[in-house]
Structure formats: structure tokens, C-alpha cells
Symmetry: C2
Subunit: 333 residues, 2 copies
């Protein structure tokens, strides 16, 4: 392992410090060192929008705090859930009486800790409702959707949910539209190399050079199949097959496409890949209303790519188009 | 090599296609497949601002086209200069009669091709003036500054020069302020791993695990020294020593700091590193007026980081603060 860190046990603290120093208008610290909030939060009359998750996925999760974006975030160790206490403190940091929408990903640790935090929040008089992202089509079959993991589709769920809250939706409204956003998202990842958690010091798993793992998770969870590395075009076909076969509603041909590198993928290759995705969708008559191509949801220095396609309706389109400003995603008019 | 490409000989074409498809409001193609321009260019009355360089550094160079940013770009093969013809066509694409500022980096191939293109441009009645970036303090001693390479400081030079052009500066004004911007920039890189040009298929050079190369160039040009990998804090001290010892003017304690990953550096580690930079500068009474932390100027999948510090005066501050919108850098009010 050859990396830019101080001590392997303090990478999360150190990274948080960097984010706060780099973006003082976006981040305010709280009494809990694993909770950041917007300086403006809680915002009177507005539903608080919160997420939380393990570190190592930067800019997710903390990098999506900002204007018309998230209000507070609970931050876990590398690849592991924030504590229940951190989720609770994030709820408190975001709640101004209108309730909190906790929009997070479907992982055992997060589920458990959010549930515990919600109990304590209820006792403290804070109403919290949740949407649990499960956009990763590779992680369980369609008829066991509740077992599916949340991956990069979470970013679109946050964007939509946070935009709705900013537009004055009430808690049920925010929850409803964030649920719709993630229900309309399908994602899949392909891994080309492993990654190393600094405190572990050796790779999490192994991918043979010349092969790629289809359906790999954001923490190296085993995928569906290891195959010889495909061309960008073949990869686009493979991944779209997974994502589109479960997108049955063709009444709304407009979609959002999010292509994220996993950390070590050259930026130019994300665009090579995107060109292939665009070609195939265009041939199918599917219009990309908006696209995001970059390092949006990473896995330390893993090489690989995730594809997320979100179907749009008029409401989602309006919310996804709302300008936003955050370290991870800045979108002008 | 395990990568997301179609054919190693077509990575540049394929990536250009992806950029154009992903950002149709930013990029217009031209008759030269290696020249992109803003759809608005040439803009009547405005100085055209152009750059060009090798590919593999994305989002540089093409990703800095946009609103209040560059007007046209000449695109070379991976790690090699655009042709003279491409530079010439980029000048033509950007010129509306007010002349063209060509702001590029100090590399033999680029120098030669820009010079040839300028001769042809002159013959065609287009006035082109240049600023040649040489911000890499590791590439030659201070008394041989003309031999120094241009690196990530180019981005700040483009930002400033393009902002000046957008604000109505004439050609000499744009050139003057872009020259001041790069004169006020000092950069240095550290490499932790090599990278592989797809058409070559094996690493360009070698960095032993457990060591880092101080002063490495954007194409793996040898640095000053190979040392055992330092902590983020030690790295920050080492790199700032190089950069600051040549920043003698302390009349303006405000600076811009740009921390760029080289392609495979985990995003969280860029922030760990930034926190250390901020601490040291703050102790020295140097104020970071604005910072950029991310993958701004990469070298395919090299792991490592570059640090750029630009001293500010009131004019540079105003220009660096102008909102901008481009795939590589979006900055709101």
C-alpha cells in the first residue's frame, strides 16, 4: 500500500478535517465529530434531509451536503456504518420541527443503526422517516428487491429529496418523491481492480488482471460473474442489459444517467464509457435528460465504473434540474 | 493493463465523443476532429482564449472549455502535443477579430506546434499572443525558469485569462494578466505509482511500493528525488518547502491552493493532504482565499498529488472569483 495518509487509524478524522477546511461555507462541525451539517441547518420550516454511511466513498456521503442538497450527514469508519449515535445527532442537527427524511443505503449496519437512532429521536420528539436505497440490481434478484444494496443511485435520491425539501415539500412529500427517485433507479458496477483499506494494509479482495467482475459492490462484495475484461462498448451493453431489463415502463423515455468511477479509473475512460452508453440508449429511443460523469461515488482506489439509470417523470425532472451546490455536485441553472 | 477502453489506438477519439455527448451545451465540434470549441465561439468583440495539450490529463485540457472559461482547445494524442494544424484550427475557432490568447504549457512539442500555427495564423490575419506556463518548480532551477514545465497552475492561468477576456480585457490585457497568474503560481507533484498508456500497454516508468517520487512530471518525467513514502503531513511540508521558498513577495498573503489527484488517488486522501497544507499555511499567516481539491489535472491512473499555490493581488482575486461553468470546474457566485 502506497498512500497519502497520516495514520491508518485516523484517515476518517483527517479527511473530515480537510473537507471542513476546504468548504467552510458548506460544512459546520457539531458536537459529534462524526456529524457534519450545513451552517444554515436546521432551517426553519424545512424538512431536514439527512444521510449517513461509511467513509472511503468520497465525495459520498459528506460531499453532498450543500445548497439544495443534504442538511446533515453521519460519517462512519471506512466501509462501515456510522453509529446510531451519529445518526441521531445528524437528525438533531437537521430537524427544525418539520421532521427529518433519512435517505440512506440498504446495508445491515446502517439499517440497524438508523432504526436505533429513530427510536431515540422519537423519544426526543423528532419525527424521522426513511427511504432505503436498493438500486444495485446485481445484489439480489428482482423478486428479492428488499435485499438489494444501495449504490450510486443514492446520489440521485439525495438530489431529488433535497430539492423537494428546498421547494417546501412536507415530510411525507419528501419521503414520497425520494422513494420514487430510488424506485426509478437501477445501478450496476464493474470492478477492474481491488482496493486497500489503510488500516488493513492489503487488498480487500482480488481481481485478476485481464478480468473484470460484473456486479461488484461498493465494498468489494462479490459480483455476479468474473469475465475477461470487455471493451468499453461491450461493457456498456452488458451493464445496460442488467439495468434496462428491469426498467419496464417506457411511457417516460427520458432518463438521468450517472456514470461514476470507483476511484482509480482515468477520467477519460469514464467518458469513453459514457459515449457507448449514450449510443445504445439513443438507438433505443431513450433520451438522456441529464448526465453525471465523474468520480461521484468511489471505493477508495478501486478501478472500475458504476452505471445508474433513473427514469424521469415531470416531477423528478423538475427536482433533478434544480440548481445545487455541494462539493460533490454543483449544478447551475 | 486492465482498462475501460475500446481500442488502444482510439482512446482520444472515443473520449472526445464522450465529452461532446455528455456536455452538448459546452462543446461544439469543428471540421478538425481534434479541435473543440464552445458553441458560442467565436464571440464578437471578445478575445478568444485557447489552449491545447496532450490527452490523458482529463479534465485538462478540453474540460476547461465553458462559460467564462476557454473558447477552443486543440487536443493531442495521449501525453503528446496537438499538431500545429490543430492549434491553428483552434485559433480560427476562437477568433472574432479581437485576437487570440493561447495559454499553454512549456513542452517542446507544444512550443514547436504553437509557433508553427502562429505563423500560419498571422498569414491568415489572426493575431495570436501566448503565455507559456512554467509553474513546475521541480523541473528546473529558479534561474532556468524558461526550462520549467507547465502543470496544474495552467488551470488557474486559464481561469484568470478567460475571466479577463469575458470581462472585456483586450488581447494585451488578457495576456498580461494570464502571465501574471502563472508567474504567481508554483507547483510540484509527488508520484506514488506509475501509469500505463493504453497503446503502450505497460507502465511508463516504475515507482517502488513504499517510495514516492518528489517532483515527478505529468507524464512521468523523472523528479528530483525518490524517498520512502512520507505521511500526508510530511508530504505537505516537503512540497510546500519547494513551492514557498520561491514565493518571496509577502505583501499579498492571500493565495489560491489547488490540490489535484493524478488519477488514482482516493478522493478522501486529497482532503487529508489539503488539511495539512491548510494548517501549515495558516500557521505562516497565509490565507487561502479559494481552494480547489479534486481530480483537476490527472495523468491517467497515476497515484499521487500535485500542489499549486498562486499568490493573489486584487485583480487576480476578482478574476479567480468570477463564476465559471465547465466540466472541469464549476464555480457559482
Amino acid at each position: 500500500m502506497n498512500r497519502i495518509i497520516n495514520h491508518p487509524d485516523y484517515v476518517v478524522e483527517d479527511a473530515i478535517q480537510g473537507y471542513v477546511k476546504a468548504h467552510p461555507s458548506i460544512f459546520a462541525t457539531t458536537e459529534n465529530p462524526r456529524v457534519l451539517k450545513r451552517p444554515q441547518a436546521p432551517i426553519s420550516g424545512k424538512v431536514g434531509v439527512v444521510t449517513g454511511g461509511g467513509s472511503g466513498h468520497e465525495p459520498a456521503f459528506l460531499g453532498y451536503l450543500g445548497e439544495n442538497m443534504l442538511d446533515a450527514v453521519a460519517i462512519g469508519e471506512i466501509f462501515s456504518s456510522p453509529t446510531a449515535g451519529a445518526f441521531l445527532d445528524a437528525f438533531k442537527a437537521a430537524d427544525a420541527g418539520a421532521g427529518v427524511a433519512c435517505l440512506y443505503g440498504n446495508y445491515a449496519g446502517d439499517n440497524m443503526n438508523v432504526k436505533m437512532a429513530m427510536k431515540k429521536a422519537a423519544a426526543a420528539g423528532i419525527t424521522v422517516k426513511t427511504v432505503v436505497a436498493n438500486d444495485d440490481v446485481a445484489s439480489a434478484p428482482a423478486d428479492e428487491k428488499a435485499r438489494r444494496r444501495g449504490v450510486a443511485g443514492e446520489i440521485l435520491m439525495w438530489k431529488v429529496g433535497a430539492a423537494a425539501a428546498a421547494q417546501g415539500y412536507d415530510l411525507d412529500g419528501v419521503i414520497g418523491v425520494a422513494q420514487k427517485a430510488i424506485d426509478n433507479c437501477r445501478s450496476i458496477g464493474v470492478g477492474l481492480s481491488s482496493c486497500t483499506i489503510p488500516a488493513v494494509g492489503k487488498p480487500n479482495f482480488h481481481i485478476e488482471t485481464g478480468t473484470m467482475e460484473i456486479g461488484i459492490g461498493h465494498h468489494g462484495e462479490p459480483g455476479i460473474e468474473v469475465v475477461p475484461t470487455q471493451s468499453a462498448k461491450e461493457m456498456a451493453v452488458t451493464m445496460l442489459n442488467f439495468v434496462l431489463e428491469q426498467q419496464t415502463d417506457t411511457a417516460h423515455p427520458d432518463v438521468v444517467v450517472l456514470v461514476s468511477g470507483l476511484g482509480a479509473t482515468p477520467v477519460m475512460e469514464l467518458y469513453i464509457y459514457y459515449a457507448e452508453i449514450e449510443k445504445i440508449l439513443s438507438e433505443k429511443g431513450i433520451r438522456i435528460h441529464r448526465n453525471y460523469v465523474g468520480n461521484y461515488f468511489t471505493s477508495l482506489e478501486m478501478m472500475g465504473v458504476t452505471l445508474t439509470v433513473m427514469k424521469l417523470d415531470d416531477e423528478l425532472k423538475k427536482l433533478i434540474d434544480l440548481p445545487a451546490q455541494s462539493p460533490g455536485l454543483t449544478q447551475a441553472e
